[in-house]
């Protein structure tokens, strides 16, 4: 402890020095007394000060003794000595008291300036002292606290009050230190966290005299802790609820943590995964995974790979695994942190895309057609594999610099004779964007030229500018040759058909003539027999002779009909309208039609295109079909006899239907065979000849059942057939 400064003592010293000076003049020892009292005040070390003071007092007493004589000198020096010792003692005691007071003052200063709440209680827990911080914080004084009878507990947060009370009572009972962390209400009502610490002090018998304690504001720390806990909890929640598989592993790869999503996804417990680290990886991917992991461990780099993991349902699904090592300051791996992302769908989509692309390439390369693309200016941008093989060039060879590949492409792939025409045609399309379709001779890898069919269309961009030409080239060389052969074959077939018609015609004529001839011959022979008998049977001979004549007339009629058949046909086809022929046939047969009680209806399509046909032959066909129709209905009793004739134009050919309402046919094909007849005296020419005639016009003749009854005979005449 430091005494007051010398300046503070100056007036007192001045007075003392003045008294000492006067004393020296009068030979009185007041100076020694003053010094004896002043020295202890000024000298720090108490023992030295006492020795010096006592020496000064003894020196003063000696001076008094020596300056006096006799008994008076003894009495005076004794009086001085006693007074000085008494004064010194008192001064010393006062000084000790001042000293103690100074200590107390300092202690109070410490307690009150302490950065916390200081307090003291008696043995019963009543506050005997609270420092100003308490009063300031809580807003109550000691007596106010004590008035409640609960010391400071009523300011404790209700949630902790019970616990703190318990602890305080326990400490009071057992005499152990009291320690508690709790919230205390501030004067404005806000609670802050405090760490309270109290210690008992005892008398010599060990009884508790009271308690001293401090309560330190730890609110900031507590709140920081709280925040830390909150953020930890948030982080945990985040990791646990994120729809991402998150894991953490030791440097060697042993799992340390796997978030619930991971465990749920894998359908395994943490222990199961820990025991067999790679067990969930597809067996085909394990080796790759392990080597990639080992490499990353060695290089301390991030891991990123795609592999199949066993999903909880047992199927393997593609996952993307990313992991990064956490490195210590000295560069060692502390832990691995990683995520797994299920990319099964993505993977499948990618696979599909790749498969699609492969398929497309495969398709383009296996198509039996040649595919190419070119820029709007004709710079070739794509040739498919077959086209390059076919032409014996590669796309690179054809590509000119600065898009000038069009001219070299033409000159190297097109027959010189076709080149200028082709170039012209292409250049036109490059300007107009018109689709290209043309045939030219294409140079093959072996130097030969094949006729090809080249077609191309342009793709326009959104501003409808030409963007890219897409084209196909089809080799039509064989087709062209085949077509020529086919034409030749068709010509031969036509000749053969004509020959066949002729033989059918002759067979049919023979048949039609033979029947009456048999009758002529048999009846004539019979006549002869009847007349040669004995006696001759004249009556029977007459009958036979008449029958022979009738049969001969029939034969004559056959011949006249055959003549009629060919009379009108000049064998030449000329353009005409089929409706005219139908009307002529109806006119020719008008009498027979009305006689047969048939109801004739015609539905002729107006404005039929003009076709090339032999009018005479087609007329015969129509007459024959109409007669057949009437014959088919001849046996109908009472039923409606409906004869319908219609014409129409369909699919480039003229169609004519002749419909009857008869009983129909058993077989729609057999009737066209030569010599087949369902009629007993059927003549006309056979349907087979009708079919031959229509066939010679490149048409068809067929029969089909009519609704509700009867038959429709239809024939077609293609316009191109002429």
């Amino acid at each position: 402890m430091r005494g007051p400064g010398i300046r503070q003592y100056a007036p007192a010293l001045a007075l003392g020095c003045a008294g000492t000076a006067l004393g020296i003049m009068e030979q009185e020892p007041y100076g020694a007394l003053f010094l004896a009292l002043a020295v202890p005040m000024l000298v720090k070390r108490r023992r030295v000060a006492v020795v010096i003071a006592l020496l000064l007092i003894v020196v003063g007493a000696l001076i008094v003794f020596l300056s006096s004589d006799g008994f008076a000198s003894v009495a005076r020096s004794a009086a001085f000595l006693l007074c000085a010792l008494g004064a010194f003692w008192l001064v010393n005691m006062w000084r000790a008291r001042a000293h103690a007071h100074q200590h107390l003052h300092d202690a109070k200063l410490i307690v009150e300036s302490m950065p916390g709440l200081g307090w003291a209680t008696d043995a019963k827990g009543n506050f005997v002292y609270v420092n100003p911080s308490v009063v300031e914080y809580v807003g109550k004084r000691t007596d106010e606290f004590n008035a409640t009878g609960r010391t400071g507990l009523e300011a404790v947060h209700p949630d902790e009050a019970e616990r703190v009370t318990e602890a305080w009572l326990t400490s009071m009972r057992t005499g152990t230190s009291f320690e508690s962390i709790h919230r205390i209400r501030r004067s404005d009502g806000e609670y802050r966290w405090f760490h309270a610490y109290g210690r008992p002090h005892f008398d010599e018998q060990g009884n508790i005299l009271g308690w001293f304690g401090t309560t330190i504001d730890i609110d900031e720390k507590k709140r920081a802790e709280q925040r830390l806990q909150d953020s930890e909890r948030q982080l945990q929640t985040l990791i646990d609820t994120m729809p991402v598989m998150i894991w953490c592993a030791s440097p060697s790869g042993v799992p340390i943590y796997q978030n619930p999503k991971t465990l749920q996804y894998l359908g395994a417990t943490f222990e199961e995964i820990g025991s067999n680290n790679f067990g969930v990886v597809h067996e085909d991917d394990v080796a790759g995974f392990q080597s990639a992991w080992a490499e990353c461990v060695e290089r301390k780099t991030s891991l990123s790979l795609v592999c199949r993991l066993r999903y909880k349902d047992g199927n393997y699904r593609w996952n993307r695994i990313d992991a990064a090592p956490l490195l210590s300051e000295d560069g060692e791996i502390i832990e691995w942190y990683g995520t797994n992302v299920d990319i099964e769908e993505l993977h499948q989509t990618q696979e599909e895309l790749r498969a699609n692309a492969e398929r497309l390439t495969l398709m383009l390369d296996t198509l039996p057609a040649f595919v190419w693309c070119a820029s709007p200016e004709g710079q070739p941008t794509y040739f498919n594999e077959p086209l390059m093989k076919y032409s014996g060039v590669t796309l690179e060879e054809l590509r000119g610099v600065n898009g000038s590949g069009f001219a070299p492409m033409i000159s190297s792939l097109v027959h010189p004779a076709d080149a200028s025409f082709l170039r012209h045609r292409f250049e036109q399309s490059f300007k107009s964007g018109e689709p290209i379709a043309l045939k030219y001779r294409h140079r093959l890898a072996d130097g030969h030229y094949h006729l090809v069919d080249c077609r191309a269309r342009v793709l326009r961009d959104c501003q409808s500018r030409l963007f890219q030409w897409y084209g196909v080239i089809v080799d039509v060389e064989e087709e062209t040759q085949a077509q020529a052969q086919l034409q030749k074959a068709q010509h031969q077939l036509e000749l053969a058909t004509r020959a066949a018609s002729l033989s059918e015609l002759s067979a049919s004529i023979a048949h039609e003539l033979n029947q009456p001839l048999v009758a002529v011959v048999t009846n004539s022979s019979a006549t002869e027999s009847w007349l040669g008998a004995t006696p001759p049977n004249i009556e029977r001979a007459k009958t036979s002779a008449r029958k022979a004549v009738d049969a001969a007339n029939d034969a004559a009629e056959v011949i006249s009909r055959i003549k009629a058949l060919f009379r009108q046909s000049g064998g030449a086809k000329s353009p005409g309208n089929i409706n005219d022929v139908i009307e002529e046939a109806c006119r020719l047969l008008r009498e027979r039609i009305s006689g047969s009680k048939c109801d004739l209806r015609t539905h002729l399509e107006p404005d039929l295109p003009v076709a090339n046909f032999d009018k005479g032959l087609i007329l015969q066909v129509l007459v024959n079909l109409i007669q057949n129709a009437m014959d088919a209905m001849a046996t109908l009793n009472g039923a409606i006899r409906l004869l319908e004739i219609s014409s129409r134009f369909e699919d480039g050919q003229i169609l004519v239907d002749v419909r009857d309402s008869g009983i129909g046919l058993h077989d729609n094909e057999k009737i066209f065979e030569p010599f087949y007849t369902t009629k007993h005296n059927g003549m006309g020419i056979g349907l087979s000849i009708c079919r031959s005639i229509v066939g010679a016009h490149a048409g068809k003749l067929w029969a089909s059942p009519a609704e509700p009854s009867g038959t429709v005979f239809s024939f077609s005449l293609p316009l191109s057939g002429g």
């Binding site: 048949h511 029947q515 048999v518 009758a519």
Partner: protein, 211 residues
């Protein structure tokens, strides 16, 4: 010329041909019946007389060849085909299936006549053979079971002793059966019996030197 009962059936869809043939055959004193279709013929009652069939190849319902095929499995009148457009393959086919003749229209009357006479004679003979065979068959049916066993052994030329051993009976018993069998079959000699057996297609099962 056709004193006995007989019949000629004509099937042709052309009435003029039917009438002409009918007229001609009647003038020859031939009994004739005509049909427009094969079905009409099949449906009609036929007398048990020698007869023949004059058949047109091309007919509206069942054609001539088809009718011939249908009749092939049973005794039927010999067939003479007539046709307006015959060719060699058709002729060959018809003849192979037992037709008497194949006459292209128009035919000569004496050709038809010859064919009809041949056909009727053929049918007459066939009917006779059928009757004789029926008689033999009924004789065979009258044999007892043992006599029917004895017949093939005798026909095979086995001696009585061998035959008896074969059947496990005494030679005397075998001889009795053999005598009864010969009598029932109206066979005067072994040669006669062998001829009858061959007509009846009795198999020769044993050999005197074999077994």
């Amino acid at each position: 010329m056709y004193s006995e009962d007989h019949a000629v059936f004509v099937i042709d869809d052309d009435k003029r041909v039917r009438d002409g043939l009918s007229e001609l055959l009647e003038s020859w004193q031939v009994n004739v019946a005509t049909f427009a279709t094969a079905q009409e013929y099949l449906d009609a009652p036929k007398p048990e007389n020698p007869s023949c069939l004059v058949l047109d190849v091309r007919l509206p319902d069942i054609d001539g060849f088809e009718l011939q095929a249908r009749l092939a499995d049973e005794p039927h009148p010999p067939i003479i085909f007539i046709t307006g457009h015959g060719d060699i393959p058709m002729t060959v086919r018809a003849m192979k299936l037992g037709a008497i003749d194949f006459l292209p229209k128009p035919f000569k009357d004496h050709d038809l006549r010859a064919a009809i006479e041949l056909a009727l004679a053929r049918d007459r003979e066939a009917r006779r053979d059928r009757t004789a065979l029926n008689e033999l068959q009924s004789r065979l049916e009258r044999l007892s079971a043992r006599e029917r066993d004895v017949l093939p052994l005798v026909v095979s030329g086995l001696m009585n002793k061998q035959g008896a051993a074969e059947l496990g009976i005494s030679e005397i018993t075998f001889q009795i059966h053999r005598g009864n069998m010969m009598r029932k079959m109206h066979a005067d000699s072994l040669a006669d019996l062998v001829r009858i057996a061959s007509k009846l297609r009795v198999p020769i099962t044993h050999s005197r030197h074999g077994n």
